[in-house]
């Protein structure tokens, strides 16, 4: 099986003021991609829903590419690391 890594799916400015609604839309997007609510739930790492819209999820390369092609997605990129300065 292809390895899943954390990817950040960035959707830009949020479309709704209700954070629950924003998170729900993230779950739906992931659910459509992965095929089940259970998989979507297991894949989700974070829902970014206050300052902007997006989510972090465990995805394979091909899943990341698929979701990146959706028109509402600005970018999908793998997680990276910062260091203290």
């Amino acid at each position: 099986a292809a390895e899943s890594k954390v990817h950040i799916v960035y959707l830009g400015e949020k479309q709704h003021d209700d954070p629950e609604f924003v998170t729900e839309s993230h779950h739906q997007m992931l659910c459509s991609l992965l095929g089940s609510e259970e998989d979507a739930h297991g894949s989700m790492v974070y829902s970014y829903r206050h300052g902007f819209s997006g989510f972090a999820a465990k995805l394979t390369k091909s899943q990341a590419k698929k979701i990146a092609d959706l028109p509402e997605v600005v970018h999908v990129i793998p997680d990276s690391f910062y260091k203290l300065k």
Partner: protein, 666 residues
């Protein structure tokens, strides 16, 4: 911080200054995204603080050795974000890890930077007698909200921060109601584009800034090489680090009675005249000798035992000193003199082992003395604290330099602040702490200085945008030290500092209160910027949440209304526009004064700006052309608008590129 704020002119004792006019920032919340917090530190005492600001919606999250009662009216928020880190580090064992699965700080870095930004006053603090004074933050009554997103990875002995976690911390901080976000972390070059989420800080910062939250970031510690600055998005305040007017001279006396003042944080007893050695082959030995600091362990114990050892290193990192000290100590040596290139990364050696740094010139003097006598000896006395003249201010060696590699037309860093040998709180179990306080160096320490100043400015001018606050800081910065002496950029060799070292200069908090004019930016300006760097309409529309169309031809990045002008590829004449907003007296008249870069012609139209009750915003055009016939490096100048009370100065940086996109090396 026992010197930082007095040095910058923000003394608590002055009856009327920015600090007192803003009640020390009491209504402002500074969000710190870092390694967490050590809540027991005295710097988080809430003595005399009023109730938590009404706009605050954050909470204190409980976890390992941390519960909500650790928060108070000073430390008003504490959360932790670890999911991204856990997913990427499957070997991490939360049960066995040294780190706390909570907002509690293990590393001490988060506690340190929080102190610098907004720590409460704590008197009579020193590092074993050095750098004594009162520790406090820039905005000592501002509230602190800590977001822990950096974790200790035991396997690799490193602290690292997943961008997924940092982005979540920023998302929560925006929700919680922070007024300023301070991030003393970053990635290394090559950088990802600032208009996409390849850099989480950049993206989170974009949305924070659109909501009026100023985001302050460390510029990085990859100096003194050019093109190393990080966190370079135009909506971020990127901070460089300088030294203070403070040093720790350490007398070393040679057997011929010549005294040399090295630099150290040596607080042990005097080491009387002791045999001195430079490990080198006398010419008749089969042993291995090395006088290189990193290779002292190659020497036999006999060479160093009972002696003070002189070594040379080409590295300016404190790691060389600690490696050398460790090798000498292990061999039974009594002290080490490290001859190195000038740098600012000074640290005490473990267990108060005598280790003193000198430059190559002084190191060579010592070497010549050793070679001149059959029984060289040397005495080391404890370090002392020297404050004020003749100690000059320098941009620290480690501070990352411009130009900005992503968008060279965007000047980075923006501003400089003290970030070398800063004494502030840490955890009580951090190596080299003294009573919960430690000296640290880095742009990590410089960034929260600016966050503290921003908090005070925000308290005084709650309606100013993050861009206006940045402009106020940049246009009023000192281009000398606070006493009028020039600021050098430390490196090899030392030179006069320029905008790629320190942006507008060294932050001058009092001057920033009344900048006269500001170069403001709003959403539409950021859209123009994204259009200019090639983003497509649909992406920009999604980013900003409304339909946008880039003009055709696309706008020029040179027109982004920054408090700086940087032209990285001048060939033909260019004309660019800036707009200034009057935040000073209604009826003000400003006249332009240009100091053009070498060989560059700069014409400004109009030459006079007249503001009144009707006219608060005016634009001017700058025409720039070059006389150079070759590809040059950057040359620097300035453009100032001068009224009877204000000098609004922005840096000018111009590089001629007759042959463009050309690696200029031959």
């Amino acid at each position: 911080t026992t010197r930082t704020w007095d040095y910058l002119g923000l003394s608590a004792s002055s009856p009327k200054n920015l600090l007192n006019e803003t009640n020390m920032g009491e209504q402002i919340v500074i969000g710190i995204i870092d390694t967490g917090v050590w809540p027991e530190s005295e710097v988080f005492n809430d003595d005399g603080l009023g109730s938590v600001p009404s706009h605050w919606k954050g909470t204190c999250q409980s976890g390992e050795m941390f519960n909500s009662s650790h928060c108070n009216k000073k430390l008003i928020g504490a959360k932790y974000f670890i999911n991204g880190f856990l997913e990427e580090n499957k070997s991490f064992n939360s049960e066995e890890s040294l780190d706390f699965i909570s907002p509690r700080d293990l590393n001490g870095h988060g506690t340190h930077v929080a102190t610098i930004a907004a720590g409460s006053h704590v008197q009579d603090i020193s590092y074993k007698g050095l750098a004594g004074g009162t520790v406090r933050g820039g905005a000592p009554r501002a509230r602190i909200a800590v977001y822990k997103g950096c974790w200790y990875l035991d396997d690799l002995d490193v602290t690292t921060c997943s961008s997924a976690d940092i982005l979540k911390a920023m998302d929560e901080a925006i929700h919680d109601g922070v007024d300023v976000l301070s991030l003393s972390l970053g990635s290394a070059v090559p950088l990802y584009g600032e208009t996409d989420i390849r850099d989480g800080i950049t993206t989170g910062a974009f949305h924070a800034v659109l909501k009026g939250i100023t985001v302050v970031c460390a510029g990085g510690n990859s100096g003194p090489e050019a093109q190393t600055v990080t966190n370079t998005a135009p909506w971020i305040i990127t901070v460089a680090a300088t030294t203070l007017d403070r040093s720790f001279p350490t007398p070393i006396t040679l057997g011929n009675n010549k005294m040399i003042l090295g630099q150290a944080m040596y607080t042990g007893p005097e080491l009387g005249f002791t045999s001195l050695v430079y490990p080198e082959d006398p010419g008749n030995s089969n042993e291995t000798f090395s006088g290189t600091c990193e290779d002292l362990s190659l020497n036999s114990n006999l060479t160093m035992e009972g002696k003070i050892v002189l070594c040379f290193t080409t590295s300016s990192s404190s790691g060389s000193a600690s490696t050398a000290a460790g090798s000498v100590k292990k061999a039974g040596g009594l002290g080490v003199i490290i001859a190195r290139h000038p740098g600012s990364d000074l640290e005490p050696c473990v267990d108060d082992f005598p280790c003193v740094s000198v430059d190559y010139e002084l190191g060579t003097n010592i070497l010549l003395y050793i070679r001149s006598t059959s029984s060289p000896v040397l005495k080391i006395q404890p370090s002392r604290t020297l404050v004020g003249q003749p100690v000059g201010t320098k941009v620290a060696t480690f501070s990352s330099r411009g130009p900005n590699t992503i968008a060279p037309a965007i000047l980075k860093p923006d501003i400089a602040a003290p970030g070398a040998s800063i004494l502030a709180a840490t955890t009580t179990n951090t190596t080299l702490n003294d009573g919960g306080f430690i000296m640290l160096s880095g742009t990590s320490m410089a960034a929260p200085v600016i966050s503290g100043v921003v908090a005070l400015l925000k308290a005084l001018h709650p309606d100013w945008s993050p861009a206006a606050i940045r402009s106020a800081i940049v246009t009023t910065a000192w281009r000398t030290d606070p006493f009028g002496e020039q600021i050098d950029a430390e490196g090899s060799s030392r030179k006069l500092a320029d905008p790629f070292d320190y942006g507008g200069g060294l932050v001058n908090p009092e001057k920033a209160v009344k900048p006269g004019l500001v170069y403001d930016l709003a959403l539409e300006d950021y859209v123009l910027y994204m259009c200019s760097v090639g983003y497509n309409d649909s992406s920009i529309s999604q980013l900003v949440g409304k339909s946008t169309l880039c003009s055709n031809p696309r706008p020029s990045v040179l027109d982004l209304n920054l408090p700086s002008i940087t032209i990285p590829d001048l060939k033909e004449e260019v004309t660019l526009t800036r707009t200034v907003t009057n935040v000073g007296p209604l009826n003000s008249v400003y006249r332009v004064k240009v100091e053009p870069p070498l060989g560059v012609q700069v014409t400004v139209m109009p030459k006079k700006l007249v503001f009144n009750s009707e006219t608060k915003k005016l634009s001017y055009q700058v025409r720039v052309s070059t006389k150079h016939k070759i590809n040059t490096g950057f040359y620097f100048g300035s453009l100032a608008w001068i009224s009877s009370v204000h000098n609004v100065i922005i840096p000018l940086s111009v590089r001629t590129q007759v042959l463009q996109n050309y690696f200029d090396e031959n």
